[in-house]
């Protein structure tokens, strides 16, 4: 089993190097000269040469790649062409903000979607099932930012339950002592409850938006998978033996939880890169809006940093997925064990 994890880890490292190479290649692949982008069209050849030297663009490609690799592995992702802010710092302060809405949002989606899908599967063909299916199709048909706007209208404009969709903390909330640079982490570390409370109330609507939007995906997956496995011979036998419906449900869910988890990881990667629009609806200081800005301006270090973080997070998520799936399935577990045993004598 450890062999299995190590193998996956090694594959992950390999993919990471590829990712760094890709992110490095972006400089050459993106049209236009970075120096021109920075200086504007009126730049003289001398100025351009000077910036090229500053950025190290005058060196040969392999040297530049090596420099970049060393830099990245030291955690230095360069500075923005336009603001001069270090990318690593920007990412460290912004990524937690995005995760604060993304992770709970996806978890909410799983819970909500599973509940909806289960209800639909058990009530298959009845009016409630048709209603749920119709509702999730409707949610899927509406872009998520539109759903966000509707929620803002209902909970902020009409009901006054949520704060204005402007940022993640009230201006009046105490500012926690800066330790990491990320407001969320700082507030958590210093135990600043009013600030955390403010963050939570601001995060509620984006979380709800993500939760409802992605719940529709999960609901469809669960309904399809569950209604099939509820009709399987295995479930019929379990019922015939008098097992409780809870246990029967658990067995039926075991058939689909793997695809559900895979789906969750895919959606995690997709929503990380798609966070921009939702973040701009709520003026949320996450990585989404920041990276979108970088893309539009051609701020290559920003794009590179975003690509790296996105890729690393997705690779990490897939690694965790593989390990969790393996731990969940006794068949894979015991197979991994016997395979480990079988390998040893051959090696000796």
């Amino acid at each position: 089993m450890i062999v299995f994890v190590l193998r996956r880890l090694a594959a992950g490292v390999g993919m990471l190097v590829l990712l760094i190479a890709l992110s490095f290649g972006l400089v050459s692949m993106i049209p236009g000269d970075p120096a021109v982008t920075m200086l504007g069209d009126a730049a003289t050849p001398d100025q351009i040469a000077h910036v090229h030297e500053q950025l190290g663009l005058d060196k040969p490609l392999p040297v530049r790649f090596w420099d970049y690799l060393v830099q990245v592995l030291h955690g230095d992702l360069g500075t923005s062409y336009f603001t001069g802010a270090p990318i690593t710092h920007e990412l460290l302060t912004r990524l937690p903000n995005t995760l604060v809405i993304l992770v709970p949002g996806l978890l909410l989606a799983v819970v909500l979607g599973t509940a909806m899908g289960t209800a639909a599967a058990y009530l298959r063909g009845r009016p409630a099932d048709r209603g749920l299916t119709w509702a999730s199709s409707l949610i899927l048909a509406v872009p998520e930012f539109a759903l966000g706007l509707v929620l803002v209208y209902v909970f902020y404009q009409l009901l006054h339950l949520a704060p204005a969709p402007l940022g993640m903390v009230d201006p009046t909330a105490p500012i926690p002592p800066v330790q990491t640079g990320s407001v969320t982490l700082d507030a958590l570390l210093s135990g600043s409850w009013p600030t955390l409370g403010s963050i939570f109330s601001h995060a509620a609507l984006p979380i709800l938006t993500l939760g409802i939007f992605f719940a529709a995906y999960f609901a469809k997956t669960v309904r399809t998978g569950l209604s099939q496995s509820l009709r399987s011979a295995q479930v019929e036998f379990a019922r015939a033996c008098g097992l409780s419906e809870f246990r029967v449900y658990r067995y039926a869910m075991a058939d689909i939880r793997r695809s559900l988890l895979t789906y969750l990881v895919i959606l995690f990667g997709a929503s990380l890169s798609g966070a921009a629009i939702l973040e701009s609806v709520f003026a949320w200081p996450g990585i989404g809006g920041w990276s979108l800005d970088g893309v539009l301006k051609g701020d290559i270090p920003v794009i590179q940093g975003f690509v790296l973080v996105l890729g690393t997070a997705t690779l990490g998520a897939y690694l965790i997925l593989d390990i969790v799936t393996m731990l969940m399935d006794p068949r894979v577990r015991s197979k991994a064990r016997t395979r480990g045993k079988a390998v040893k004598p051959a090696a000796a």
Partner: protein, 327 residues
């Protein structure tokens, strides 16, 4: 004294376009203690639905099932689940019917846990091991998973799981039809031995007449949701009275190719079992049908000792007997 009695069982399913499909249409059945009743009929005749109604995997629209005089049809919830130890079912696909994530020991033990009063862990383990031994598996299979076993072994696990609680009545829903021929013979032998040793009562659903001939003391023939002929296996298979039974038997491959019955063609396909019919379901396909067959209720009527047929013209010459004589 019959162990299981079904009266006037009926079950419809929603069909295409809001229509209703009547899978089981007023079946009366009594299974005597220690007997194996065979249930044959083509696909779609309602055999499996009937089996599932008897063990309450499906709810009947109408009619009752009693086991040892206790009404099963009205049981609900936890009482139904607890009573399931007395009636069991073995399925056609051995692998699909077992939880692939559990070990054999746990699979067979599960039904014992339903009631709570199943003794200590050690006692349960012993009981599981005894049952596994009864079905021809050994202790080494206890910690295996279904995927590690052969099809025959998987079906033995299914049988062990059905028998571990000591049921009074077991439905065997084509338990051997997905197995290899040699394995099939072994499993059939096993079932015959288990029945003999434990005095079990079986309903054996099959579309294989030879299997039924070997295992079943009585045989019922089902067509479009109704039992059209029932009687001692010897009598039903050797002297079929219902035109449908004759057609079914003539379509089967004989053990001895020299004694093949001349093929009796039934005109057309079985009609869609959409609505409750008054007369005989075979009207329109039967060579000896008369107007009366379509107009009146055709109940099962005795034609020989314990041999009943639902046909107004039972035993009438269909024209194939003559051909047989020529051959």
């Amino acid at each position: 004294m019959p162990v299981l009695v079904a009266e006037d069982l009926r079950r419809t399913f929603p069909g295409p376009g809001g229509s209703k499909v009547c899978a089981v249409d007023g079946v009366d059945l009594a299974v005597a203690e220690g007997e194996t009743l065979g249930l044959i009929g083509e696909s779609g005749s309602g055999k499996s639905t009937l089996g599932r109604l008897l063990v309450r995997l499906l709810d009947a629209d109408r009619g009752t099932v009693t086991l040892d005089g206790h009404e099963l049809t009205s049981l609900r919830g936890a009482r139904l689940r607890r009573s399931r130890r007395d009636f069991q079912i073995v399925f056609q696909e051995p692998f699909a019917s077992l939880n692939p994530r559990l070990k054999v020991g746990a699979i067979v033990e599960e039904p014992l846990l339903v009631n709570g009063k199943s003794g200590t862990k050690a006692e349960r383990r012993q009981r599981v091991l005894d049952t596994l031994a009864d079905v021809g598996l050994s202790e080494e299979h206890y910690d295996r998973r279904p995927a590690d076993l052969s099809g025959g072994q998987q079906q033995r696990v299914g049988i062990a799981r059905a028998l571990v609680t000591g049921p009074r009545f077991v439905v065997l829903d084509e338990p051997t039809s997905s197995l290899d021929l040699t394995v099939r013979a072994e499993v059939l032998q096993l079932l015959a031995r288990l029945q003999h040793d434990r005095g079990l009562t079986f309903l054996f659903i099959s579309h294989d007449i030879h299997t039924v001939r070997r295992l079943c003391s009585r045989t019922a023939v089902m067509y479009l949701g109704r039992i059209v002929e029932i009687g001692p296996t010897e009598s039903v298979l050797a002297h079929p009275q219902h035109p449908y039974t004759k057609a079914l038997l003539s379509a089967a491959l004989p053990v001895d190719p020299g004694h093949r019955l001349p093929h009796l063609p039934l005109a057309g396909d079985p009609p869609k079992p959409t609505a409750h019919r008054v007369g005989c379901a075979l009207v329109g396909r039967c060579p000896i049908a008369t107007d009366e067959c379509a107009a009146t209720e055709v109940p099962l009527r005795p034609v020989a000792a314990a041999h009943e047929v639902a046909c107004l013209h039972a035993g009438q010459d269909l024209g194939i007997e003559a051909k047989e004589a020529q051959a």
